[in-house]
Amino acid sequence: MRLWLLFLWGLALAQAPKPLKVGALTGEALYPGGRGVAYGEARLVAQGLGLSLWQGGGQVALGLGSRVQAFPVVAEEARAATGPSAWRQGDKVYVPLRPLAEALGLEYRAQEGILLSLPWARLLGVERGQGRLLLRFSREVNAVVREGGVLFLLAQGEGEGLRQEALGLFLPLESPPDRLYYPGGNRVALEWGPLPRPRPLVLLDPGHGGQDPGMTFGDLKEKDLALDLARRVAARLPGSRLTRTGDETLPLEARLEKAQEAGVLISFHLTQGSALNLYLPKGRTSPLAQNAEALLASVTKERAGLLKAYAGDPRLLAKALEEAFGALGLVVAKAEGPYALLDIPGAGVILEVGVERLKTPEAKEALAQAIARGVRAYLEGP
């Protein structure tokens, strides 16, 4: 009987509030629901260790650099420790300490009380670039923009212009950074200047290649003529890319993978005679592709320019190419169908050129010029 009472007394003592030490701050560790899971107040934990803290939407999250741990907030004691979830008591929110320590790499020790700490981080290197500064530490670090510079909390080290302070390493700056973010790998990035605008990728795909010569026209092969035309167009469109740059076998699957990132795709093929054919997709499957045409028609020119980096309208591209060919007096035949490579979010077309159109270098140049003009008109147009 005495042993039984001793056991119950010990159990009750184990679930009683204990002292909590978080960095230099002290508080109380609670055990909601009597389940043996130590909880600490979220704000105290964040302040004591320099962690970032977000609350809202029924959740609380604490972060250290690129690491973030979120917990759903519940009011019932019994439910809190089973999740584990955060526990709301009055206007305070408590978070489970051990899962938090494991997620963020904190030191957790339970003795007479709970000790939660974070070892100081060491600065390992600084990379300076145009409008960019990248600092690498021995662990994830939080940084705070203060007047006159940026403070890296609980960090120490030496470097050009860096100053050690009681709370961490301070980097004096003439102007505050426009962006501060954590790219991962224990790094902190500071950037100045406007965000670079996404530029649509123009992908030029010379059909066939390698073991697949395509059509043959006497001594000429479709794979060589298509590559030559694509190269001429690429020379007029800075930043554009080719799916193949030499005489290599490239399966459609590999071309399709590259095409997924393209804002504009033109696949070059040849045919007999002097025809000029444009093949367009009929019914694209991705939701972005399905909505792109309506979106492009409804947004401003500036926003359309941004959208075209990710999605496009093949009909608009075909129209721009048609007008560019029309300026040379060339008539284009268009067809829609389940053509390969065209079921992509970007604007993709297959351009089939009659071999008669490529008889002279001047004719090839004129055609390449018209294609480049058409692509530019599509990208710059509404």
Binding site: N277, Y279, P338
Partner: protein, 164 residues
């Protein structure tokens, strides 16, 4: 005389009679002695091929042929063979019936040397011929060298083809 009716004599007589009865029973004819042949071959020895021959740029020319299937020939194999001969195209490697779907395995060189229009006519001629010849099927799915493929050169083969 009583000496003949010993236990062992009677037991031997019973065993002999049972053995005789079993032998007579096993000699009765219960069915054909020949091995069964595949159902497809017994069920069908003629093929009505509905050939849709490419006729670019107008479309397809429809032609119906009734053919006798020789020993070992299957309707699917015969249909592929005749289509290939009639269109001067490489013979598809195999045809599989998968419920309401036909799976056609194409060789890699199936559309070699064709432009987009001729490739479309060749593939759709084969698909429409098979769907018209085997009306129980609703769609044709193409494989290339035994595997699902994005296509040969110009056409997307990742989706099945149905009759319009």
């Amino acid at each position: 005389m009583r000496g003949l009716f010993t236990f062992w004599n009677l037991f031997g007589l019973i065993v002999f009679l049972l053995g005789g009865a079993f032998y007579l029973k096993s000699q009765e004819k219960t069915g054909p002695a020949a091995l069964p042949i595949p159902t497809e071959e017994t069920a069908q020895n003629t093929l009505v091929l509905v050939l849709l021959r490419p006729n670019p740029p107008e479309g397809f020319l429809k032609e119906t042929r009734t053919l006798e299937l020789g020993p070992g020939e299957t309707p699917g194999g015969k249909a592929l063979e005749l289509w290939s001969e009639a269109t001067s195209a490489p013979r598809p490697k195999a045809l599989f019936f998968q419920g309401k779907r036909l799976l056609v395995d194409l060789p890699q060189n199936f559309a070699l040397g064709l432009d987009a229009t001729l490739e479309a006519f060749r593939l759709y001629s084969l698909a429409y011929t098979l769907l018209s010849t085997f009306p129980q099927a609703e769609e044709v799915r193409f494989l290339v060298e035994g595997r699902p493929s994005a296509g040969l050169a110009h056409l997307d083969l990742s989706k099945p083809i149905r009759l319009p």
